[in-house]
Amino acid sequence: MAGAIDLKDIFFVEAEELLSALEEGLRAIQTGAQEADTVNAVFRAVHSIKGGAGAFDLKPLVNFAHRFETVLDALRGGQLQPEPALLGALLHSSDHLADMINASRNGTETDPELDQRVIVALEAQAGMGGHKEEEAFVFEPLALDGPFGMDLSALPLTSLLRKVTLTFRPHSGAFASGHDPAFLLRDLCGTDEVEVELDQSALPVPGGFDPGQSYLGWTVTLQTERSDREILAIFDFIEGNCDLTLEAEAETPPDPDGPLPETSLAPSAPVVVAAAPVAAPPKPVAPPKSPDAPAAASPQPASSAPSASTGPRPTIRVDIDRVDRLVDILGELVIHQAMLTEAIEQSPGFGSVEVDRSLDQLRQLSRQIQESVMAIRAQPVKPLFDRMHRIVREASMAAGKSARLVTEGESTEVDKTIIERLADPLTHMIRNSVDHGLEKPARRDEIGKPTEGVVKLSAAHRSGRIVITVQDDGAGIDRDKVRQIAIEKGLVPPNAELSPQEIDALLFLPGFSTATEVSALSGRGVGMDVVRSEIAGLGGRVGIASVRGQGTTLTISLPLTLAVLDGMVFEAAGQTLVLPVSTIIETLRPDIMMRHTLGRTDSVLDVRGRCLPLIDVGAALGFRRTLKPGEGEIVVVVERGDDGAIALMVDGIRDQRQVVIKGLEANYGQIPGIAAATVLGDGSVALIVDPSDLAAIGPNPSRPNVFLAAE
């Protein structure tokens, strides 16, 4: 027995998928997709949201979706053309629908006036203006459709039995449509006193009987309190597939206080409310079906039965907690495998080929399990990228610019947690590109660029990492201005000699903002420094490159997973530490001639003519004083993204292995120079060094942000 899954949760999950299908479809139409399928899918997305919202009585959402759907229906029917202005309004409505769903997931509602403004703007664009609030769509409860949900309290209490006579003769088409006269007669009779007369005069002679044909008719006389409407409602499904007449004594007037007009229908006068097809039937009931269905109503061909192989591959939905549990167990497995290896290597039996081979196999299997589990958590970046279209739309609107987002590599898969935590920094980067990167349309026109700027967002896997770039075709970084501002703000001394790369890097300093006027969107006190620290929190790096007049490119490089990394285990000042292998360029034993001192404490290492900053890891982390020249044993050259390489002095290298990443934030806080921790084979903790952070610490680091995690 499956438990009652919370339907509302399912609805919100589904709504999210529908919203992205909606937006994607609208964008496809925007770029010229003409297929009816695209428009249908867009319509269906809104339609399904409306259906679900109705089920949970989310009235504003239902109303909005209904009016939205009406416009889409006109687009689907060809009454509307997908002109840019209409598409803009549709996209805006789609954004607002997303907001409404979000709000209702959080148990709140969006501003009703805003709801109204957005949808009216759409209707106006569609030439459907004049839709008033009072006409807003109201769900017709089923009760009105059938007799069983009738509001009985509306009936007069003083019972007045009337005599109603009905003749009923189903057509053969009724059987073909799944009707069974027995159920109709059962409902017709109800609990009333009835007389039923069977008309079997049409029965054929024996031998000519066709079970698909209709030969019988009934005349039913009721003594009933039910109204004509109630009685006829029983036949609404079979309407058009039967002959039906009703003769009745007048009903009790609906207003019992009102005078009963003498001229009203006399009790004896039969009222024909429905007639056989020969007579033109009066309004309220059953226009007979015309044999020729209108062309518009012709349904899709049913013959296109697909082969099983063309369908989408079957998938299952799994609670993310279960996957996370698997990742945790896997982490334990990796640790214990390391412990086992260590124990065996120190035991007398070590060296046996069988043991060696088994250990090797175990290692490979564990890596395979790991890759498989990570693949479960991996998701394409597409939904994340899809959300950025909206950001570009809103940012360009707010900044008075014209911009288009182009995406690439959307199918690139990344760990789910990374995707979730990328949303904020990516949003900020995109806004930044529109706000500060792109020029205003007039300016672009002046310099011969198309007025519409392009922001290109792309993702790709590159040597075990994922690289995401945000590239704009704007003005590029005005380095003189950046330098000027940095000096004004005291971020660099006025006489500082800065390379172009160093100037670009200033943008990542806390509090830096080049916008001379604070824009509506970027002016939230969030600078690129926050982007950088958020990316760093994911074990990633941000780089910036810019060509004057041609644009700026921001590059994020991230690990594929947050759970495991390939690490080099090393010793420094008696501590066991780990460096991510992905950052290591080379390992070398320098001789004393390669080392030079700069100033009082700083050292550089000459590696084949390249001077790299030399950092003693043990000292940088505060475990000891800086070693004197000649004391350093081994140097590991690591890269720090666009900041160039640095040389790290360590005491010894132990080995290279996979390590499970354990966060320090939960119980402690962030530590400068340290990315995370891991548990080694002997059960002890080793810290994972973040080389790009290490160089920035210097000999007297500011006080670390300990114990801040919970605040």
Binding site: D328, G331, E332, I335, Q575, T576, A620, L621, G622, F623, K662, G663, L664, A666, N667, Y668, G669, I671, P672, G673, I674, A677, V679, G683, S684, V685, A686, L687, P701, R703, P704, N705, V706, F707, L708, A709, A710, E711
Partner: protein, 155 residues
């Protein structure tokens, strides 16, 4: 850890009593996760002096504080013979290094007296009160105060 004998009376608070730097302390049993022996922690860079480092506690990385040093008393010397009280403090798990756990006390609310004025301000701020038991003065720690205040750390 919890001894069921005490918990019946809601008015009785169960406290884990321990010694460090020659003084008696206690904390509410509800914040204690486990008590374990010393294991050598990995040093944390640039940490306050009372932070001994971090250890692996069944897969979680947990910082260890030398309680005596945190309270401004003589730091613990012979660590191998001492114990770590693993406590949950404000959603975080922290190990408190102390000399020895001495007792589990059942104390009625009325048995907890306000901290005497004699205590220094620094010590007072970390105490909730004192309990006198068998002529011993046992200091009830306010565990939340053991972690430095956020704005201090941020400065």
């Amino acid at each position: 850890m919890r001894s069921s004998g005490f918990a019946t009376d809601p008015d009785i608070r169960e406290l884990v009593a321990f010694r460090t730097a020659g003084q008696d302390f206690c904390i509410d049993i509800l914040s204690v996760r486990e008590i374990r022996g010393w294991s050598r922690p990995a040093l944390l860079p640039h940490a306050p002096s009372y932070v001994q480092g971090v250890i692996n506690l069944r897969g979680a990385v947990v910082p260890i504080l030398d309680l005596a040093r945190r309270l401004g008393l003589e730091p613990i010397e012979d660590k191998d013979r001492n114990v770590i009280i693993v406590a949950a403090i404000q959603n975080r798990t922290v190990g408190l290094l102390v000399e020895a756990v001495t007792d589990i006390l059942g104390v009625p609310a009325s048995g907890i007296q306000p901290t005497p004025d004699l205590a220094s301000e620094a010590t007072r701020s970390m105490l909730r009160g004192v309990v006198v038991q068998d002529s011993r003065l046992i200091r009830l720690l306010d565990v939340a105060q053991l972690l430095p205040p956020a704005d201090d750390a941020a400065a």
